[in-house]
């Protein structure tokens, strides 16, 4: 395998470690199986098929791979949740619904390197005992769906997929299933409901843990596109070698998607925890726009709590306890969680001092209000309420109590819903209002308080005696 050369202007930054994105923007590369195999592709599938399925799972466990979809749950542990005496068919689902605002990594794998995903899926199916796998791809990737279906057929022709793979006993079918434009279909049980042809109302857990009662009430493993690609590399180099990349308990590489007020936004594959926020923003992305100062960063997709520039975070325990600023935060799962946010899906949104946080929160609230499935009370009513409050603030009719109301509504949603969408829509509100109160206060006026703000109350108030 020769070292890849990249398209001019799209070369990886020197801080990057291109493993998953090795073939993205590669010169002379296309999505065909010919390209992939010539570069050594499907060798790791052959290697995996010579191992026992449990050995494959054990390698993934040893590697310490954590899910790249947003939750960061250890993948090997998730695979181990399938009931030991299971007699029902096992399904593997690739979550290609990439809808988290600020995230744009899976799309490149799907469009430019589909065979890496397919190989990773086949290895994973072999490990968990799945004979049928689905790629649930978001509706907004019509080309991606076609590319994947084409890639699947290419693999089938080479006996790498379908019945008796490579002449052995392993059968595996992969189907591409297109979504219809709902963010909640990225939630694993919402995805499963959608795949079954129903409304994507997430299921309550317990009892409907997908590893026990998933698709058609059979054990199901749902993994992110990037996570499944990592599996291939884990088998290639072995779990222990993989665990040397990155940092302890935060192993491997991950793709960060930087957007916002930086000179060079884009996607960057880095070793987890080996790059700090400051290095990412200033070195890799070329810093902020001329004359601007950093105001805040959302480190893990719009669901993650915002970090304010100038904050200090105390991390570590006992002797290793220390205080760091925003630029010193290593981009890993544990530290970002310790700083009160999360690594999430890797969507880093940088905001400079030209931004008004009320507008930004309103933008985010509009998204969540639109995407709430509506099944459970707090999120259904609360998400739209929070949007309406910030709508009003942004249009100049905010009142001082709005800050308290916003925070209180967020507190009443988070932790009280069926799925994590509750936290996803509440955390932005809670964190933005808590960390940038002056921005919000600017949009409130005591003069607005008590005003009849809608036509019905105007009419009602007209008849009241004061």
């Amino acid at each position: 395998m020769e070292a890849p050369k990249y398209i001019k202007g799209k070369e990886p930054h020197k801080s990057e470690y291109r493993m998953i994105f090795r073939n993205v923007d590669r010169r002379g590369w296309d999505a065909s199986i010919k390209s992939y195999i010539a570069d050594g592709g499907y060798r790791d599938l052959k290697k995996a098929l010579k191992m026992k399925p449990q050995e494959v799972t054990d390698e993934v466990k040893t590697s310490g791979l954590r899910g790249r979809g947003g939750a960061g749950f250890p993948t090997g542990v998730k695979w181990g949740f399938i009931p030991p005496n299971n007699k029902k068919p096992v399904y593997l689902i690739c979550n290609a619904d990439e809808s988290e605002p600020g995230t744009f990594k899976d799309r490149y794998i799907v469009h430019q390197d589909p065979h890496q995903l397919i190989e990773g899926m086949l290895i994973s199916c072999y490990a968990v005992g799945a004979k049928v796998a689905y790629i649930y791809i978001r509706e907004e990737f019509p080309e991606g769906a076609k590319i994947l279906e084409g890639a699947i057929e290419e693999a089938r022709k080479k006996n790498l997929l379908g019945k008796k793979i490579l002449g052995g006993k392993f059968n595996c079918e992969i189907y591409v299933h297109r979504g219809a434009g709902a963010y909640i279909c990225g939630e694993e049980t919402g995805l499963i409901e959608s795949l079954e042809g129903k409304r994507p109302y997430p299921r309550i857990k317990p009892p409907y843990f997908p590893a026990a009662l998933g698709l058609y009430m059979c054990p199901t493993i749902v993994n992110n596109v990037e996570s499944l690609c990592h599996v291939k590399h884990i088998i290639a180099m072995g779990g222990r070698e993989y665990a040397k990349i990155g940092t302890p308990r935060n192993t491997g590489t991950r793709i960060l998607c930087v957007s916002g007020d930086v000179i060079r936004p884009g996607y960057f594959e880095v070793e987890v925890g080996k790059i700090t926020m400051g290095e990412l923003i200033n070195d890799v992305c070329g810093g902020l726009r001329k004359g601007r100062k950093l105001k805040g960063v959302i480190p893990g997709g719009s669901s993650a709590k915002v970090l304010r520039a100038g904050e200090k975070y105390t991390i570590g325990t006992g002797e290793s306890e220390r205080t760091i600023g925003i630029n010193e935060i290593p981009m890993d799962f544990d530290t970002l969680a310790a700083c009160g946010s999360m690594a999430g899906s890797g969507g880093v949104i940088v905001m400079d001092d030209s931004r008004d946080m009320t507008w930004i929160l309103n933008n985010i609230n509009t998204f969540y209000a639109h995407e709430s499935c509506g099944q459970c009370t707090p999120c259904r009513e609360g998400s739209l309420w929070m949007k309406k409050i910030t709508d009003r603030m942004v249009s100049g009719a905010g009142v001082p109590s709005d800050l308290k109301t916003l925070t209180s509504v967020g507190d009443n949603i988070a932790g009280r819903t069926i799925c994590a969408f509750g936290e996803a829509c509440a955390w932005p509100t809670q964190s933005f209002v808590a960390k940038f109160p002056e921005d919000f206060k600017k949009h409130t006026s005591r003069r607005n308080a008590g005003k009849e703000l809608n036509p019905e109350s105007k009419a009602a108030a007209a008849g009241l005696k004061r």
Binding site: A182, R199, Y201, I204, P206, P207, A369, H370, E371, S372, C373, G374, Q375, C376, T377, P378, R380, E381, G382, S383, L384, W385, K388, I389, R392, V399, S401, T405, D411, N412, I413, G415, R416, T417, I418, L453, N454, E456
Partner: protein, 575 residues
């Protein structure tokens, strides 16, 4: 795990120890948390949970604080509290009580700050878009939103925005009206139609706060159990067209009785005010009708208000009937029947009569020394849910008390007897026998025809004497349903005009014919009856109870209850 349990109870295979609001109780393994709290008398408010339906856990009103004993480190014992139970570590995140089951050592707090905050939060969320319809909403007075907002709500609003507008007054079926703004999206109606009556016509469309309950584009909600959705709807989203705007629920008196539409004997509540019935609703009885009843039974009280209702005793004078008073009517009836001996008299009673009334008919038959006694067999189409094909509620009572092996089998021979002239007098009680071929031609052969009905009908028209009786809602008495259960009817309203309770009419007749004493207490009449009817031996009227008592083994099963039992076994519902 070796817990030293001294005063605390050991967990057995069947029972687990659970702490509810500080008190330790024992409940069966696999009990839902909400039911365990109910057993400990701790109320957990809820909307979407219903013991007979699956639990989706979407209203979030039943959130409670939960704790578990932490797993001790290897080699260490669990920390115990004063009662010998493992100390509970409380979770910061609340859990729903309706879908989670208890485990050994679990702690539940329903009155903690966290639980109360959760409820206040959910109440606030439900009320922000809820229309201010209480003054015009039928559910007022029995609305869970009203009740919980008083008990668990904030008490004031801080919502300054426009409410979400949704369709109101939507026609979704012949008997039901839908108001989407009031709907709290609990999905009880959707689950009921899907899981209980196999009529999947309701569902949700649109997203988020704009979710609306909607009816299938091609099929209305018209099945014979549709009004049960109105019962289970916790708010005024689904309302009954029949009851719409008729009466406030707090004005109505609820009488526990039994539906008389068929032999199932569904337990009901008759809601009335000032001698007018406004609605009937099912009463839970897990041996008969679970929590449901059919629409046709529910609405059959309307026939009591018919214009054809008889209100005075009448005697034939020439071609028409003339109103008379009761003493005259009873006297003439007794005289008329006593003219004929033994088998010259026939009695056709009804399986709509109570046991006590049928007993009095038996006494009458003995006085007249006739064996020509029968009731009408009236079968229709049953269904696979609750409707029984026998359209008479007390066939089993008629069998036991009138000693009929096959009710309706002697009717033809009675007809032949009349046609041949061997039967000269006929006493019909509570049936329009024209449907069985007793038309003008046959009945005109009789020398004497006396009948009792509640509505005017051809048999009454041809009768020499007509005695107006009472309907099922106007009498107290017992009946035995198709599955052999003895159940009690109670009096909700008075019979109209001069019509009288049937057991009084029959006692007057018996006294006029044989000097029998009048028994003033129904309970005493029941006891007299119980002494000679084997299946009722040893029972008393007051001992029957609100849920009835099984007195005959019929071997019949109820399809809906069987399916319910299956779902309980599968753990899908609580039952």
């Amino acid at each position: 795990m070796n817990l030293l349990m001294s005063p605390a109870n050991k967990q057995t295979e069947d029972l687990v120890n659970v702490q509810v609001d500080g008190h330790w109780i024992q409940v069966k393994r696999g009990t839902r948390m909400i039911e365990a709290c109910k057993q400990a008398s701790a109320e957990v408010p809820h909307y979407c949970y219903h013991p007979k339906l699956s639990s989706p856990g979407n209203c979030r009103m039943c959130l409670v604080e939960m704790g578990m004993p932490p797993r001790p480190a290897p080699g260490q014992e669990a920390e115990l509290d004063n009662d010998g139970h493992a100390k509970i570590s409380w979770m910061p995140r609340p859990v729903i009580a309706c879908a989670n089951t208890v485990t050994e050592g679990m702690g539940i707090r329903t009155q903690s700050t966290l639980a109360k905050e959760c409820r206040e939060g959910v109440m606030e969320f439900l009320l922000i878009n809820h229309p201010l319809d209480c003054p015009i909403c039928d559910q007022a007075g029995e609305c869970t939103l009203q009740e919980y907002s008083v008990e668990h709500g904030k008490g004031e609003s801080r919502f300054l925005e426009n409410k979400v507008k949704k369709p109101k007054n939507v026609d979704i079926g012949p008997r039901i009206r839908l108001d989407d703004e009031r709907c709290v999206l609990c999905s009880r109606c959707v689950r009921f139609t899907q899981e209980i009556v196999d009529d999947d016509v309701l569902g949700f469309v649109d997203r988020g706060s704009h979710n609306v309950l909607t009816i299938h584009p091609d099929k209305p909600l018209a099945n014979n159990y549709s009004l049960n959705t109105v019962d289970i709807c916790p708010v005024g989203a689904l309302t009954s067209n029949d009851f719409r705007f008729k009466m406030r629920v707090w004005f109505m008196r609820e009488t526990k009785s039994i539906c008389n539409g068929c032999a199932r004997g569904c337990n009901i509540l008759i809601s009335s005010r000032e001698n007018k019935i406004y609605r009937q609703t099912p009463r839970e009885n897990n041996e008969v009708n679970s929590s449901w009843m059919c629409d046709s039974g529910r609405l059959n009280y309307h026939l009591l208000e018919s214009d054809a209702r008889l209100t005075d005793p009448m005697m034939k004078k020439g071609k028409s009937h003339e109103t008379v008073d009761w003493p005259q009517a009873i006297r003439s009836t007794a005289e008329g029947l006593l003219k004929y001996k033994g088998d010259e008299v026939a009695i056709i009673a009804s399986a709509r009569m109570t046991n006590e009334e049928l007993y009095l008919v038996r006494v009458l038959a003995d006085t007249l020394e006739t064996k020509n006694v029968d009731t009408l067999k009236c079968h229709g189409e049953g269904d696979d849910y609750l409707n029984h094909k026998d359209r008479r509620p007390n066939t089993n009572g008629a069998k036991a008390i009138l000693k009929l092996r096959s009710p309706g089998s002697r009717v033809n021979s009675i007809k032949k007897g009349i046609e041949s002239g061997s039967i000269k007098a006929l006493f019909v009680y509570g049936e329009n026998i024209e449907s069985k071929g007793f038309d003008d031609r046959v009945l005109s052969k009789l020398k004497f025809l006396v009948s009792s009905h509640i509505l005017a009908n051809p048999t009454a028209k041809l009768s020499d004497i007509v005695l107006p009786g009472a309907s099922y809602a106007e009498k107290r008495g017992s009946m035995i349903n198709a599955t052999g259960r003895l159940q009690l009817l109670n009096k909700a309203i008075e019979p109209p005009g001069n019509s009288r309770d049937d057991w009084e009419i029959l006692q007057d007749l018996n006294r006029a014919m044989d000097g029998k004493d009048f028994i003033y207490e129904l309970a005493d009449l029941f006891s007299e009856m119980a002494s000679i009817v084997p299946v009722l031996k040893g029972l008393t009227l007051s001992g029957i109870g609100e849920k009835g008592a099984s007195v005959i083994e019929t071997g019949e099963t109820i399809p809906l209850l069987e399916r319910e039992a299956q779902r309980v076994n599968q753990g899908l519902i609580v039952g």
